[in-house]
């Protein structure tokens, strides 16, 4: 049944990445004619024409399905029409995708018609993506789709990509292109690590100095409120959540440029050395500032989650500062600076909880025994499998939800087919109960920006991130063979290139339609 690539025997579902959960298909196929191809809403569908998400999806997927089509082609004679009928149970068309939005869909392809049923519009978008990947062309350019039944849903709810726009500024176009490519692999969370030490490109309406003094350039290397809104609405139409990260108290050098007194002045002996460290946790002004900033961030970013960072805090500056030491004494923390960090993070989490947001923090926060609300999600990023598997056990044992990023730091490039390492990760392989395993809500591919900007982002991200995409969506047993995945991923990569995504090759070979740029 696993036959490969003769036009006689093409099995459509094989061309779908990530692999759907359940499918049956046959070699019976139907021709598709772009001039007689329609999307429509089912009579029972809660969403009807006027639904922004699906109306734009229909338009988008038409071009993706028929890449050669231009309306100049009038020669094809219009024979039997083909209808893709979409029905959703809930009309959540004007809402944002949530952490628990259903992405389930059923797709049934038979003669003249494909029936796509889903609970939500987000599920329908996933189904349309699958359908678009099932259509193929023969050597003469004619389009076909095979008779198929698919029942599909994601294994994990949270399937994210992290982009870092602080180490290098990424033009908005580059972000939007990434969102397109994410949708092709069914990623559903864009984790926007928007600011960090090197630069602060986020233009805050409450604190405009943050970017005017902290960005690489106050005009050309910023994200205006309008840019941010654009990214959020573009993501929404593809069923992608935008999760902002304002990482503190470490990773905040650029914040201090536009907000004096925010960062801790480091001391050399009894005099300030002129350098600054993490956010100053002892001043009330710090928390007043954070409250105002997060109030703004909470309203600008509609997702119910917010990432607070909390990683890699260097204690030496705090230690050198006499006011900080005095505060430690007053609070009874002694010489344990993890307690000071815990104090800081707890305050920030209180701020964001009061704003009705759930927090995600890097694992460091848990490792420092900070008091955090039950529903805070821990983001695991450190170590080799032995190390992160232990961490998964520990954190889920404490009843907390986790996200796995450690094995998917794809900014760490190396020579050869490293996509195989990303594909063979087993996110639930750790010692723990079934209950604990359920606390793994998903994972994230991280593309840190030290060596990455718009010149090399796309080939570095794709198709390697797609290997993780299948691990996060598909059934583990059905996708246990890397060797079987290889030809499918090669094909999928050629599809990405055809769709204008500059995805690099896995190994020697060729695509029918090569990338024609530079």
């Amino acid at each position: 049944k696993k036959s490969r690539h003769s036009t006689l025997n093409h099995l459509s579902f094989e061309g779908v990445w990530p692999l759907p959960q359940a499918f049956t298909s046959s070699t019976e196929r139907y021709p598709l004619n772009p001039q007689a191809f329609y999307f429509g809403y089912g009579k029972q569908s809660a969403a009807q024409q006027g639904c922004s998400v699906l109306d734009t999806a229909f338009k988008r997927y038409f071009s993706l399905i028929f890449p050669d089509y231009s309306s100049v082609d009038q020669w094809a004679f219009v024979d039997k029409p083909f209808l893709v009928e979409v029905s959703v149970d809930q009309d959540d068309c004007e809402s944002y995708p949530q952490e628990d939005s259903s992405e389930k869909y059923n797709l049934s392809v038979c003669e003249g018609k494909a029936s796509l049923k889903a609970e939500t519009v987000w599920g329908a978008v996933r189904g349309l993506e699958t359908f678009s990947q099932m259509v193929y062309q023969d050597d003469f350019g004619s389009y076909f789709v095979n008779k198929t039944e698919i029942e599909d849903f994601p294994r994990f709810q949270f399937r994210g990509i992290l982009l870092d726009t602080s180490r290098h500024y990424l033009p908005v176009q580059a972000i939007l292109k990434t969102l397109d490519a994410m949708a092709y692999s069914k990623f559903n969370v864009f984790h926007w690590h928007i600011v960090d030490d090197p630069s602060f490109p986020y233009q805050s309406s409450t604190f405009p100095d943050l970017s005017s003094k902290g960005a690489f350039h106050p005009m050309t290397h910023i994200y205006t409120q309008s840019d941010v809104r654009r990214v959020i609405s573009y993501a929404r139409l593809q069923g992608i959540r935008v999760l902002p990260e304002f990482d503190s108290p470490g990773h905040t050098k650029s914040w201090g440029k536009g907000q004096s007194d925010l960062l801790t002045p480091c001391y050399r002996g009894s005099t300030p050395s002129g350098t600054f460290g993490p956010v100053n946790p002892v001043l009330p002004s710090t928390y007043q500032f954070m409250e105002k900033l997060f109030k703004e961030v909470s309203s600008v970013f509609p997702d119910s989650y917010i990432h607070l960072g909390g990683d890699e805090v260097n204690f030496s500056c705090w230690k050198s500062n006499p006011d900080v030491r005095a505060f430690m004494q007053k609070m009874g923390f002694g010489a344990d600076f993890t307690k000071l960090e815990a104090f800081y993070i707890e305050n920030i989490v209180n701020i964001t909880s009061a704003l009705n947001k759930t927090s995600i923090v890097w694992q460091d926060v848990f490792d420092y025994h900070e008091k955090i609300p039950e529903d805070t999600v821990l983001h695991i990023w450190k170590g080799l499998p032995e190390v992160y598997q232990t961490e998964l056990s520990r954190i889920t044992k404490a009843g907390k939800r986790v996200l796995l990023a450690a094995p998917w730091y794809i900014n760490h490039i190396s020579y050869g087919q490293d996509w195989r390492n990303y594909y063979t990760v087993q996110p639930q392989n750790f010692s723990g109960t079934e209950e604990q395993k359920k606390l793994v809500i998903g994972g994230e591919v991280c593309m840190w920006g030290e060596y990455v900007d718009a010149t090399n982002l796309n080939p570095r991200l794709w198709p390697r991130a797609s290997a993780a995409a299948e691990r996060l969506w598909s059934d583990e047993k059905q996708t246990s063979s890397v060797d079987s995945a290889f030809p499918r991923l090669q094909d999928f990569r050629c599809k990405l290139v055809r769709r204008g995504i500059q995805a690099e090759p896995l190994y020697v070979g060729h695509c029918k339609h090569e990338y024609q740029g530079v």
């Binding site: 602080s166 180490r167 290098h168 500024y169 033009p171 176009q173 580059a174 292109k177 090197p198 630069s199 690489f216 350039h217 050309t220 290397h221 900014n411 760490h412 490039i413 190396s414 020579y415 050869g416 087919q417 920006g449 030290e450 060596y451 990455v452 900007d453 718009a454 010149t455 090399n456 796309n458 080939p459 570095r460 290139v497 500059q502 995805a503 690099e504 090759p505 896995l506 190994y507 020697v508 070979g509 060729h510 029918k512 090569e514 990338y515 024609q516 740029g517 530079v518």
Partner: protein, 450 residues
């Protein structure tokens, strides 16, 4: 130089400011400018540049030096925060340390559309590279459309129409390169690395045997058939006319002897002709009037070589390649270094440091020997590279090699290099080349093409 400035309308009444530089004079100082010639390894690439008022003067014996001088001049310009361009008074006298400064691209493991080849030739010129080593065919595909043997690409290319280089394509590459002072040296690697040749040329490759029967697979080129030599003679005759450079790269690397050994006809031939080593068969493989470049194996295996053969060192760790350089030069051959500059071998972090530090004359030898090192080549093998990721993978890492091959031996300050290379990288980006970043940073004009 002025690409990013919006075009101001022609204004006849425009006064030039008192200290505005309005003219760069270019003088070719020798009677034969070589303008209509192809560049060669002996071309004079020197130039003198004097930026001064009332006009700047660029003097070079040949056009090749003038091209380099223009590139240098374009890099002297800088902008203030209002976008006004300035240049400082400068005197430069420049020439390359090594005459052969090359980039290898592999269009067999992945087909490379012409556009990406041309864009990289342009970038090579910005970096004063002067040799494009075109590893055009190999095991996986044969994209070169031969006039004499069109079936080679008809059967051997990934696709006979969309994944080939027509004679017109090849001409375009050669002329585009010439106008930028870049030589195009094709490599038709034999007798190994030739799987794709056998698709369109029956009986060219050796049939391997398992036991007494042919196994169905094929090995390197079959060295005992007369038809092989007829073919090779005709083929290389065509190559000699299509590619005007005085040198051709014959490959000669990684020849697997097991197939030859398994074939009874070859065994018999070897015994009859009393060949000591199998690679001596290489002697007869090609006859052209070009100079040859070959990979080091051919030398390592004791094959008799013409005295002007250029030996290309690519194997081993640092100690091993330094020994090889010493051996090759002590045998009197000219040599090129590539070993430390395999840019296809990517890793996390600032690997350009390693490329910058490597020096082709770093080995134990006499001054005479060191003179035989005529340069080096940065190689971007294509197993994991095609047009989607070629340019950011090549640049600016190859620029580190460029400086090592052009500039003086004692230009080694890595921190200073970082600052200058960062600026140079932004310059390439501004010119539309997606050269990747060195580290966290920004360019005033970021890369726009997505």
């Amino acid at each position: 130089m002025f690409g990013s400035t919006k075009k101001l309308g022609l204004s006849k009444s425009r006064r030039t400011g008192p200290s505005e530089l309005t003219e760069l004079q270019v003088w070719i100082t020798s009677p034969d400018s070589e303008c209509d010639d192809y560049p060669s390894v002996t071309s004079d690439e020197s130039y003198e540049l004097s930026v001064d008022l009332p006009f700047a003067v660029l003097k070079a014996p040949k056009v090749w030096g003038a091209l380099h001088g223009l590139e240098t001049f374009s890099q002297l310009l800088y902008e203030d925060e209002y976008g006004a361009k300035s240049v400082n008074a400068t005197t430069i006298s420049d020439f390359p340390r090594f005459a052969h400064r090359g980039i290898l691209l592999d269009s067999s493991r992945h087909f490379l559309p012409i556009k990406v080849i041309l864009a990289n030739l342009e970038t090579m010129a910005m970096n004063k590279f002067n040799v494009f080593h075109w590893h055009i065919v190999d095991d996986q595909s044969f994209p070169y459309l031969s006039r004499t043997f069109p079936q080679l690409s008809q059967q051997g290319a990934y696709h006979p129409y969309t994944h080939v280089y027509t004679p017109a394509d090849v001409k375009m590459v050669i002329e585009f390169a010439r106008l930028r002072g870049i030589r195009v040296i094709p490599e038709f690697d034999t007798p190994g690395h030739t799987q794709s040749w056998g698709k369109g040329q029956k009986d060219l490759l050796t049939p391997c045997y398992s036991g007494s029967k042919p196994s169905g697979t094929f090995g390197p080129i079959n060295p005992i058939l007369n038809t092989t030599y007829d073919f090779m003679n005709q083929f290389f005759k065509e190559i000699s006319t299509v590619f005007p450079d005085a040198y051709v790269h014959l490959g000669g690397d990684e020849v697997d002897f097991t197939c030859w050994r398994s074939n009874p006809d070859i065994q018999q031939f070897m015994e009859q002709h009393r060949f000591q080593t199998r690679l001596q068969l290489l002697d007869i493989v090609t006859t052209t009037n070009k100079g040859y470049m070959i990979w080091q194996e051919v030398f390592d295996n004791g094959v008799k070589l013409k005295p002007d053969t250029l030996i290309h060192v690519w194997k081993g760790n640092q100690e091993q390649y330094q020994n090889e350089m010493a051996n090759v030069t002590s045998s009197g051959y000219q040599t090129l270094l590539s070993t430390p500059w395999y840019l296809n071998r990517i890793s996390y972090g600032q690997d350009w440091h390693g490329y910058y530090k490597a020096d082709p004359q770093d080995f134990k030898g006499t001054e005479e020997q060191k003179k035989l090192v005529i340069g080096g080549e940065a190689c971007l093998w294509g197993e994991y590279v095609d047009a989607t990721n070629l340019t950011p993978r090549l640049w600016p890492r190859a620029s580190a090699v460029a400086e090592r091959l052009w500039s003086a031996k004692d230009v080694t300050d890595i921190n200073d290099a970082f600052n200058r290379l960062s600026m140079h990288r932004c310059r390439m980006v501004e010119r539309g080349i997606p050269a990747e970043p060195l580290f966290s940073s920004y360019c005033p004009r970021e890369y726009k093409g997505i």
